[in-house]
């Protein structure tokens, strides 16, 4: 566990998803997690309190998770990004972003919280394999 708590923004237009994931990250992951249902609010918050990690839905009414991630990078360039989406069609958006030089990892909903935690660890701690929290949950 790092000495300083990892700051995580969880953004999803569905409040239940955003808040439940934030709760898990707080209680299970020991992160400093904040949930947002409006990506613009998340962006505003980032100006005053830059996160270390952004976990965001892709398809949202105000802006896409990809746009949010791109704009957030301009505020805090070191911020890690994990996107998750309920529809495979978002791979097209991701591809469009990749063409302009941004590369984000996409997880497909539903992503099991344990997997999410593992992905976060992989992303933030390097190539270490997260296995301690491996649940009996798979495809």
């Amino acid at each position: 566990m790092p000495s300083e708590l990892l700051r995580v923004f969880v953004v999803d237009d569905e409040d239940v998803i955003a808040s439940s994931l934030a709760m898990i990250l707080r209680f299970q992951g020991g992160f400093h997690a904040t949930s947002f249902t409006d990506p613009t609010k998340a962006l505003q918050a980032a100006h005053s309190d830059a996160p270390d990690l952004l976990i965001s839905d892709v398809v949202m009414p105000q802006m896409t998770g990809i746009d949010l991630a791109i704009q957030l990078r301009s505020v805090c360039p070191d911020c890690k990004v994990l996107l998750f989406s309920g529809t495979a069609a978002t791979t097209d958006l991701l591809e469009a972003a990749r063409v302009t030089g941004y590369k984000f990892e996409l997880l497909l909903k539903p992503v099991h919280p344990a997997d999410l935690l593992a992905s976060i660890r992989t992303l933030t701690e390097g190539a270490q394999t997260p296995s301690s929290q491996k649940p009996q949950f798979g495809l």
Partner: protein
């Protein structure tokens, strides 16, 4: 001009010439008859003159004999006398006979005869007197010149008759001359007319022959044009006579029916063009027969297939129309048909495309709508289960809930997972696509400790809708992962093969699970057919087949190499796109690059030991 009139013209021309020749012959014959008559008359006149002269000579001969006798008393002089006297009477008869047709001459004959008789009598009297021994009396009688007078008289009559004959001769000669001239003239005229007639007729016939030749050439040209047109046409054409016997097949028809024109000619259409109903395999009603019955254009019934001579069937569409001459008389039937195999395929592909496009729109929406609540529920259940101080019974209940959620997730994943709204094709790198699927299933693969065997050969990028292809590979790998036991093996082969001149990507997905029971194989790709009663929807393989076939490929269950246990699915996909673009979006083509997956593929071998 109509042919009958021309024929009449020629016949009339010949008849006219024939009549001319007949008339000429008749005229010539008559002229010759006249000539012969005239010639005969002329020669008779000459004979009459000669005979009259002969008569005179006989009298002179008789008189010379008489005188000789009188002077010499030698009876040898009496012989010429008597010879001449004996000929006088027949000579008179001859003259009378020759002039029998001339009344004026006939009128002279009695007088001539009397005078001649008188002269003969006088000479006989002198001789008789001499013989009676009175030579002087006899000489006296001579000197009385009675005989001289008689002789002069005879000469006068003869001269009259000769004059008449000479007059006749000149008249007859003139007539003869004229007759000859007339004959010559008529022959010349007739020949001239005949020559003119022949020249006219010949030129007319030459013109006719030329016209006919030209006409025939035109017909040949037109026939050639029709033949070339029918031969070049892309559809198959068969023509029959009014009995239904084949008269013509173009090359396309030869190919489609498997019959050669030379062999098919004259055979019945039912033999050359046997058609059946595609579904019932019952013989279908032959359109040619129908046209012959009803006399108007007939289209072919739906679902008709042509039976080739080699036994294969070709789906066709056709129509048959009557061939009529200028008078509307039915001469035969022309049948036009074409192979609709590729059209069928295109229609089928279109149908699939439309169906999949609709399904895509629906599933993309549904996936989003289902996955979001699933996410929320998964998070909440996990959160609840992992709360501190949760009673063990609640934890086990929540674990059950998670397992049930897994089923829902599985179903959604398999049926709705990778559809995109866009059906646009792009160049899909199969290796990368397969790796991305392994990555997505990494948890499951790890949980069963499944070994992955990659046999990646050279496989060119496939032009396809990448989301759909990912669904295909995903479904097959998910099935394989379900099938294998713990620590089982899933093998995937990628290679390119050449088939019928086309480069195909070959994807083989194998597992060493229990394999597919033979009785399931026929129904494997049917919708809603499943062997996984708990988690199967029966849509996965059906969907997979739909997608593969829409891309112009095919999927089949194949035996594993060396008859190893397990199941193997083989997919062949054309490298160039066969996908109907009907439902495609903007058609934008993007490369699905392996680098896209950076960070998602952890290592070459995804199999990692779990703790």
């Amino acid at each position: 001009m109509q042919i009958p009139y021309r024929r009449i013209g020629i016949v009339a021309g010949f008849s006219l010439l024939l009549a001319l020749l007949i008339v000429n012959a008749a005229v010539t014959r008559r002229q010759l008859g006249l000539q012969i008559g005239a010639q005969y008359s002329v020669s008779r006149t000459r004979q009459v003159l000669m005979e009259l002269n002969q008569l005179e000579l006989l009298l002179v001969d008789a008189e010379t004999g008489q005188r000789g006798y009188l002077y010499t008393g030698d009876s040898k002089y009496l012989a010429p006398y008597q010879d001449a006297i004996s000929k006088i009477e027949p000579q008179l008869d001859t003259v009378a006979k020759l002039t029998a047709d001339n009344s004026s001459q006939q009128a002279m004959i009695p007088e001539l005869r009397n005078r001649v008789h008188a002269k003969a009598a006088e000479m006989a009297q002198v001789i008789a007197t001499y013989q009676s021994g009175k030579p002087d009396a006899a000489r006296e009688l001579v000197l009385t010149s009675t005989g001289l007078l008689l002789m002069d008289h005879i000469r006068l009559v003869v001269a009259q008759m000769e004059g008449e004959e000479e007059r006749l001769e000149s008249v007859r000669a003139t007539a003869y001359e004229r007759a000859i001239q007339r004959t010559i003239a008529s022959i010349y005229l007739a020949n001239f007319l005949a020559v003119v007639g022949l020249v006219l007729l010949a030129s007319y016939m030459l013109r006719e022959i030329n016209l006919r030749e030209k006409h025939a050439q035109e017909i040949r040209t037109r026939e050639e044009w029709f033949r070339v047109t029918l031969t070049s046409i892309g559809d198959a054409v068969i023509a029959t006579d009014r009995e239904g016997a084949v008269t013509f097949l173009n090359p396309v028809a030869e190919t489609l029916t498997g019959n050669d024109l030379v062999l098919a000619k004259g055979r019945n259409i039912l033999e050359v063009f046997p058609i059946i109903n595609e579904h019932t395999h019952e013989p279908a009603e032959n359109p040619v027969k129908k046209v012959l019955e009803v006399g108007h254009v007939v289209g072919l019934a739906n679902h008709t297939a042509l039976l080739r001579t080699d036994g294969t069937q070709t789906p066709i569409e056709d129509s048959a129309a009557p061939i009529r001459d200028a008078n509307g008389e039915l001469l035969g039937v022309v049948l036009v048909f074409r192979d609709v195999t590729s059209e069928r395929k295109a229609r089928e592909a279109m149908r699939r495309t439309e169906r999949l496009a609709a399904a895509s729109r629906l599933t993309a929406t549904m996936a989003h709508e289902i996955n979001n609540p699933l996410q929320a529920v998964a998070s909440l259940v996990y959160f609840s289960r992992t709360m501190p101080d949760v009673p063990e019974t609640v934890v086990s209940q929540l674990t059950l809930v998670e397992r049930e959620l897994q089923r829902v997730e599985h179903i959604v994943q398999q049926t709705l997972g990778f559809y995109r709204e866009s059906g646009a094709t792009e160049s899909v790198e199969m290796h990368a696509l397969v790796e991305s699927v392994f990555e997505l299933y990494s948890n499951k693969l790890k949980s069963k400790d499944i070994r992955i065997e990659r046999r990646f050969g050279d496989c060119p990028p496939v032009q396809a809708a990448s989301g759909e292809l990912r669904q295909v590979i995903s479904n097959l790998i998910a099935n394989a992962a379900d099938a294998v036991h713990n620590q089982g093996t899933i093998g995937i082969t990628l290679e390119s093969i050449e088939e019928a001149g086309q480069t195909m990507a070959h994807i083989l997905v194998e597992d060493d699970g229990p394999g597919i029971p033979p009785e399931y194989k026929p129904r494997l790709f049917e919708p809603f057919f499943t062997t996984k009663r708990d988690v199967g929807t029966g849509l996965g393989l059906w969907l997979t087949k739909e997608i593969v076939e829409r891309h112009g490929g095919r999927i089949e269950v194949v035996p594993r190499a060396d008859a190893e246990p397990g199941a193997a699915f083989s997919i062949l996909l054309p490298v160039s796109s066969n996908l109907s673009q009907a439902a495609a979006g903007d058609g934008e083509v993007r490369a699905f690059q392996p680098s896209e997956l950076d960070g998602r593929i952890g290592s070459e071998d995804l199999v990692q030991k779990e703790e």
